[in-house]
């Protein structure tokens, strides 16, 4: 691929004009086009980035989407972490609150832990099955680059779907995460996979890098989302609780 492929753009006189979110495609990425759609529905522009590129093409934020990169045969995210683009992302993402906002969803979260941009790791679900279900979460930190559209302790319902979703870390790391307010999402109404302390998503210290196992990009469009919302009754597949993740980062980027 020559340069990044623009795939969605907002209208010309929006304040978001010129702001772009890059979505990385690895071999085996599955939810990349869904992440692009989510950015567009949130009002932003998205470009697709290729894992083998050495250049971030001046995007203002990056989403590492879900999927089974390299089949996840070794460990989820283990091979993708070595992609040339990951080096660029790692460099741009470090350096404080104004560094590049990076969101890892599901496999993207796994890539971020393998790359040591986020602590801990994911192992097989405690029940050993793939599980796909609508999952209720609590947003425990509404100050990250990706969660400012929510209120602290607000609940949301978004789909969860994975095989290796059990978040583990040693107790010292877990205590540190809790102490520093870096547990961003917690499972409520039942832990679906055995994750330590019901943790569904975390951030780095600066709050620009966030990873979560459930899929906000599958709850952004009424008619194609989960059947429920934490905000009350919605129509068939009407849940759009995930949209706030994408509006959060756009809001942050326009200042």
């Amino acid at each position: 691929m020559g340069g990044p492929q623009p795939v969605a753009s907002n209208n010309d006189d929006s304040p978001l004009n010129g702001v772009t979110v890059g979505v990385v495609t690895f071999p085996g990425s599955l939810d990349d086009r869904d992440a692009v759609r989510a950015v567009r529905l949130a009002g932003g522009s998205a470009v697709q980035l290729w894992h083998g590129d050495h250049d971030l093409h001046e995007v203002d934020a990056v989403i590492i989407p879900g999927g089974f990169s390299y089949g996840d045969y070794l460990r989820a995210g283990a091979i993708s972490r070595f992609a040339p683009l990951m080096e660029q992302i790692a460099r741009a993402a470090s350096g404080g609150p104004d560094a590049l906002p990076v969101l890892g969803i599901c496999n993207g979260f796994q890539v971020l832990t393998e790359a040591h941009l986020l602590p801990g790791s994911m192992i097989k679900n405690n029940h050993l099955h793939f599980i796909c279900r609508d999952q209720r979460l609590r947003v425990e930190n509404a100050e990250t680059s990706w969660t400012s559209a929510y209120a602290r302790d607000e609940e949301i319902v978004i789909p969860l779907k994975n095989q290796d979703g059990q978040f583990v870390a040693d107790n010292r790391t877990l205590d540190e995460l809790e102490g520093e307010g870096r547990v961003v999402f917690r499972y409520v109404d039942g832990n679906p996979n055995g994750s330590r302390r019901d943790i569904a998503g975390i951030s780095n210290i600066a709050g620009n890098v966030v990873g979560l196992m459930p899929h906000p990009e599958h709850a952004v469009e009424a008619g194609f989302g989960p059947d429920s919302s934490a905000r009350g009754e919605v129509g068939v597949r009407g849940g759009t609780d995930g949209l706030g993740i994408f509006t959060s980062v756009l809001k942050k980027l326009v200042g």
Binding site: P27, D34, G71, F130, C132, G223
Partner: protein, 602 residues
């Protein structure tokens, strides 16, 4: 990258050798050919076949590839179609999958296939490679796969072997389909002891494409290049069969041949993206997936459907197992491979796309104007055939059939019990039975969200996906079958299966347009089974005519029997319908209080 053509030393049975040694005995019976069939091969060729030719004819003339027992009946699907029924058909029966026009320049292709026996032997891999195979059929039409479904049938829920099969098969379907990023939008789970030794694993895939993107499996244009790409070729699917003793090694012992295929969903996902780029860049003229009968099937079908011939150098095939003989390479069923025809000008563009996705490929040969399929091994001719005789002019049987004598007795055996004394208890018991209860325990293992276009999936009777984000144009699909009805009356059973799938699609709000079917039966050599089959096809073809929807493709799975006892005749019927806007879809069941309830129909 190109193949390292270190030619390996076999006792190559060349065409010249076959002509010089007419009396040499060949293991045609071990390879599954009947005596009359072997004689026909000799007649066609005017000599004995070479080992490689024998390998090709034997796999291509198998029941699985040639439909030799079912063909005479399946013709009704074509004969009973009216022009009005064909209105939306862009590609009909005979190609890898049918293609249906759904308007605005969009088309969909869909098909259901079985992977029954492999799933009994190795449930996880058998079911996984079943999904892989049907998805490659869809890709080879030029389409992006957008959803899968999985009608399943298992033995008794309390039988000791059932857990092995259920958990392995469901995990395999999920493991492969989830990794491809294809939402699973429906299916069936049925338990019945008649399926104990013969579980049915049927997999349906649907894909979407623009009209101009339709690709067909034909090799045309002399001078065009033939390329094999995707996974390397291994001994998969050849089984333990002592293949072609005449081709044995000079020195070292041949290594074992795996009896089962292992799927690599990651390789297939990359193959999908890579094929879509090929289509977008218009660099392939014809394309064919490799399934059963592998290279034998792909070369002979491409050549047979084209207007010329084909010339192939078999040592160019990239191998996973270097000990494979030419015959084995031709028969291998290794997964995740495709074959394409590319004009010389597009070779560079083709290679660039392969390299970008890190997909291995090797150029095997070219399209010729000779009308012959010629395959060489290191420059020596080992196959020289008219490809039509391999791919399309195999044996056709009018197998005898007769109505089973036991049928009257079974039909007369009506339910004799009275009203249950405790209705509430009876309803609860029904709802809790394995065939009626919620299927969440299966569907929760499948991704129904990926791609972001799923408008209905479980627990609805039809799955619905959006095709066009701008307009909301989309499709609904339902699959249904009832083996017990078909056992009692195969003609009516087939009609009921179609009617149910049709109703499920219609009540979701879509207009039914086309049908695919997977006909699962016992042995065609049993006249009673053959009668069930004949009645089923007649019933389905009649019902399609009555409802005005054509069959666009499907699959026949025979020999589903153990110890002489056949499964119930099980025609799985899939109906596809179209929505102008999926926002209008209607879910099954009541979602809000206060709505009125009407009962329609008789």
């Amino acid at each position: 990258m190109t193949a390292e053509t270190t030619s390996r030393k076999f006792n190559i049975d060349t065409v010249a050798n076959a002509e010089a040694t007419p009396g040499q005995a060949l293991p045609w019976a071990e390879l599954g050919l009947k005596e009359n069939e072997y004689q026909r091969v000799e007649e066609i060729l005017g000599r004995r076949p070479t080992g490689a030719e024998l390998a090709m004819y034997s796999v291509m003339w198998s029941e699985h590839c040639s439909y030799k027992s079912s063909k005479v009946h399946l013709r009704q699907f074509g004969d009973k179609v009216t022009d009005a029924m064909k209105e939306h058909l862009l590609v009909g029966i005979g190609e890898n999958a049918g293609v249906v026009d759904i308007g605005d320049g969009w088309a969909v292709t869909f098909k259901v296939e079985s992977h029954n026996h492999p799933s009994f032997v190795e449930p996880y891999q058998g079911a996984a490679t079943g999904v892989g195979g049907i998805v490659r059929d869809i890709i080879s039409m030029g389409a992006r796969p957008v959803a899968v479904m999985d009608p399943l049938r298992f033995g008794a829920i309390d039988h000791p072997d059932t857990a092995r099969l259920v958990h392995g098969i469901v995990a395999g379907i999920g493991g492969y389909g989830n990794s491809l990023g294809l939402p699973n939008i429906g299916g069936e789970v049925v338990f019945d002891s008649v399926y104990q030794g013969n579980p049915l694993v049927n997999a349906l895939a649907v894909g979407v494409l623009r009209h101009e993107d339709i690709r067909l499996a034909n090799a045309s244009g002399a001078g065009n290049r033939v390329v094999l790409f995707g996974a390397r070729t291994g001994g998969d699917g050849i089984g333990g069969a002592s293949v072609l003793a005449s081709e044995s090694f000079d020195s070292s012992k041949p290594s074992k041949r795996p009896a089962v295929q292992v799927g690599d969903p990651f390789a297939e996902k990359v193959l999908i993206e890579c094929c879509l780029e090929l289509f977008k860049a218009s660099v392939v003229e014809g394309i064919q997936d490799l399934g059963a009968a592998g290279i034998s099937c792909a070369t002979s079908e491409l050549a047979s459907n084209g207007d010329g011939g084909m010339h192939v150098e078999l040592t160019n095939v990239l191998l996973r197992d270097p000990s494979l003989t030419p015959g084995e390479i031709l028969m291998s069923e290794s997964q995740e491979r495709m074959m394409a025809v590319v004009t010389p000008e597009n070779v560079g563009a083709f290679e660039a796309i392969m390299d970008r996705w890190a997909v291995e490929y090797s150029w095997l040969g070219e399209v010729t104007g000779t009308g012959r399929l010629i395959i060489e091994w290191d420059g020596e001719k080992i196959v020289d055939v008219d490809p039509r005789t391999v791919a399309h002019e195999g044996p056709v049987y009018e197998r005898p059939y007769s109505r089973p004598a036991w049928l009257d007795g079974v039909q007369a055996d009506a339910f004799a019990g009275g009203q249950p004394t405790d209705l509430r208890e009876a309803v609860l018991e029904l709802m809790a039975s394995p065939n009626m209860c919620s299927k969440d325990w299966v569907t929760d293992q499948y991704d129904r969200y990926v791609q972001g276009n799923t408008a209905l999936a479980m627990p609805d009777d039809a799955g619905v996906v959006r095709v066009d984000e701008e307009t909301g144009l989309g499709v609904a699909i339902s699959t249904d079958a009832n083996g017990r009805y078909s056992y009692l009356n195969p003609y009516e059973g087939a009609r009921l299966a179609l009617a149910e799938a049709y109703r499920n699609v219609a009540t979701s709000g879509a207009e039914p347009l086309a049908v695919t079917d997977c006909l699962n039966f016992g042995s065609p050599e049993d006249p009673e089974v053959m009668w069930q089959f004949a009645e089923t096809v007649r019933g389905l073809a009649d019902a399609c005519q009555e409802l005005g929807v054509p069959v666009t493709g499907g699959n026949v799975s025979l020999y589903n029997q153990t110890g002489g006892v056949a499964i119930h005749p099980t025609p799985v019927v899939g109906v596809l319908g179209v929505f102008d806007d999926v926002a209008r879809r209607t879910p099954s069941g009541w979602r809000e209080d206060g709505q009125a309830i009407y009962l329609l129909g008789t």
